[in-house]
């Protein structure tokens, strides 16, 4: 496992608020890496910086040694880092298959002139095949013609992952994928993530569900109040005094 995605002194300041303060950690290629911390620790802000949604106030994000901090979201995506969103963010008005087809935008870049003349049949067939493949992977094959907005919550979550997966990503940034899932759905989702990992996709995951995090992650980074707190395997983090203090509250942070 080599260093693949590296954060160096990542800082984000909103006016007087220091949301993320000098955060540094490394994500190994082909691993599932968890990012945890109490509410307001700056996990989602970190995510938004990596995916290009925010430009960091200072610090660097290195992907294979290239600095990608401050690039627009689609530029980051084109380098293989694709994110999902916290809520069920989908193209609700489009069908499930069309959602997945949007996900194939990068591998099968549309060309308007070819589209008018009809010279893009191969690309369209390839995109459709890839979209179907992504849907099958997440068990949505039978729902391809449904309207995405009509799906159940669990299926919408899976579709969000399928859209990201359809683009052949190297890194998937998953923002709270287990929120609002029952234990059975969580178990299925964990199984899918293990299969993504087996596919060679690196996963960086923000999550509150400790059972999922502990059962899934190779490495866990814990943050608190925007700062790096601890890092290690699930067993280390579970018993780390600083982490326990941050979650259960210690004398230091009581205002």
């Amino acid at each position: 496992m080599t260093d693949f995605l590296e954060m160096r002194g990542l800082t984000m300041r909103f006016g007087g608020l220091m949301a993320v303060d000098g955060l540094s950690f490394k994500v190994a290629h082909g691993s599932i890496h968890g990012l945890i911390g109490p509410n307001g620790a700056g996990k989602t802000t970190t995510f938004n910086m990596i995916s290009g949604f925010y430009t960091p106030t200072s610090g660097q994000i290195l992907l294979r040694g290239e600095d990608i901090s401050g690039l627009a979201m689609h530029e980051v995506a084109r380098r293989g880092v694709v994110r999902t969103f916290q809520h069920s963010t989908l193209f609700a008005e489009l069908t499930v298959l069309e959602n997945a087809l949007v996900g194939t935008h990068m591998p099968f870049r549309p060309n308007i002139f070819a589209a008018i003349i009809g010279w893009d049949r191969e690309d369209r067939r390839g995109a459709a095949a890839r979209a179907r493949e992504a849907l099958e992977f997440f068990g949505l094959g039978d729902l391809a013609e449904e309207r995405a907005g009509d799906l159940s919550h669990g299926h919408q979550r899976a579709l969000g992952l399928a859209v990201a997966y359809a683009s052949h990503p190297d890194v998937m940034l998953l923002d709270e994928p287990f929120t609002g899932m029952n234990p059975e759905e969580t178990r299925q989702m964990m199984e899918l993530m293990r299969r993504l990992k087996a596919d060679g996709i690196t996963i960086l995951l923000v999550e509150h569900d400790m059972q999922a995090i502990m059962g899934l992650c190779d490495t866990i980074t814990c943050m608190s109040f925007g700062k790096f707190l601890a890092e290690g395997g699930p067993a280390d983090i579970r018993h780390h005094p600083a982490v326990i203090e941050a979650y259960l509250g210690g004398a230091r942070h009581v205002a």
Partner: protein
């Protein structure tokens, strides 16, 4: 097999249509065809979720460009029409730099301001735009013969056939774009721009692309009108005309391809038959305003929603996929 038959019948009906009409009705038919292209090009922009108030002025850019090029530079009229469209598209690309810093309501107002600036430039500069009076004596389309039919462009019927053919080709191109992956990306940009961007879509590029294509076809519509009427002036592209376009689009509905055509045809027919028939033509803005309000209140999804209710939905008629699975 039903489809080509229906298509041929439809085409035959459109070819036969002007022969049952009076001379003034034939002239209205020409404008109707041009307006269909205008409102359909507008629809392509609305696919990305942006509504512009400068679309009619952009149409005017095509009209002015084609008129000036044919008049001053001696460009042949058909080439001038295409160049009019190209000019409008290029101007749209330029305008996209300031305008697409804005979205939604702000874009709407920004596009209105940009349109007014262009209109004021036409009014202010007598050379070459002719000031408030505009340009007159624009070269008409030269007559030509196809062997089985001779085009005589003093006859509205001939211009109807000519403009109708061009509009049909343009609509076909618009249709191809919408049904392509590019069209799907436009929809994606509309419904969830953040998710589209996370999938690698360059939002600015796609918004600009839709704006430029819509403007290009509007420019062709403008050129078609300029060479038919023979004059252009700034007031024929003012906000009142823009409101007509908006009304056609809203009353017809913009989620289907045929929606704006329905709106444009129906409102033009009502306007010409009812209002002109009753000698009430001055009341057109009043009438359009009332129709728009009534349509928003009682038919929020436009005329197309009525058609969708009558025709069975395609999505339900797909039993073959389940049989395969």
């Amino acid at each position: 097999m039903l489809k080509p038959v229906m298509f041929l019948l439809g085409a035959a009906a459109l070819i036969a249509l002007p022969h049952g009409l009076s001379f003034s009705q034939q002239e209205i038919l020409v404008f109707l065809v041009i307006n269909i292209l205008l409102v359909m090009s507008y629809r392509l922009l609305t696919l990305t979720g942006e509504w512009s108030l400068g679309h009619v002025v952009i149409m005017g850019v095509g009209a002015y460009a084609s008129a000036l090029m044919t008049k001053n530079l001696g460009v042949p009229v058909p080439v001038g029409m295409i160049l009019g469209g190209v000019t409008a598209a290029l101007l749209a690309v330029l305008l996209s730099f300031p305008l697409f810093r804005m979205k939604g309501f702000y874009f709407l107002i920004g596009s209105f301001a940009a349109g007014e600036i262009i209109r004021l430039i036409w009014k202010r500069f007598r050379e070459p735009f002719g000031g408030a009076r505009g340009i007159s004596g624009i070269d008409p389309m030269p007559d030509f013969s196809l062997g089985f039919y001779s085009f005589d462009f003093f006859e509205p019927v001939s211009y109807y056939y000519f403009a109708g053919t061009i509009v049909a080709v343009c609509l076909w191109v618009l249709w191809r774009i919408e049904k392509s992956p590019v069209g799907l990306t436009f929809h994606a940009v509309h419904w969830q721009d953040k998710l589209a961007q996370a999938s690698g879509v360059n939002l600015r590029a796609y918004r600009t692309l839709a704006f430029a294509i819509a403007s290009g076809f509007a420019g062709i519509a403008g050129a078609l009108q300029a060479h038919y009427v023979g004059t252009v002036n700034p007031n024929s592209f003012d906000i009142e005309v823009m409101v007509f376009v908006l009304t056609w689009a809203i009353v017809g509905g913009t989620t289907t391809f045929y929606g704006p055509i329905l709106g444009c045809v129906l409102l033009t027919v009502i306007n010409e038959v009812v209002l002109r028939g009753m000698g009430f033509e001055q009341a057109r803005p009043l009438f359009y305003g009332a129709i728009m309000i009534l349509s928003i209140l009682f038919l929020p999804n436009g005329l197309e929603s009525i058609v969708q209710k009558i025709l069975p939905r395609k999505a339900t008629a797909k039993p073959d996929r389940k049989a395969a699975a």
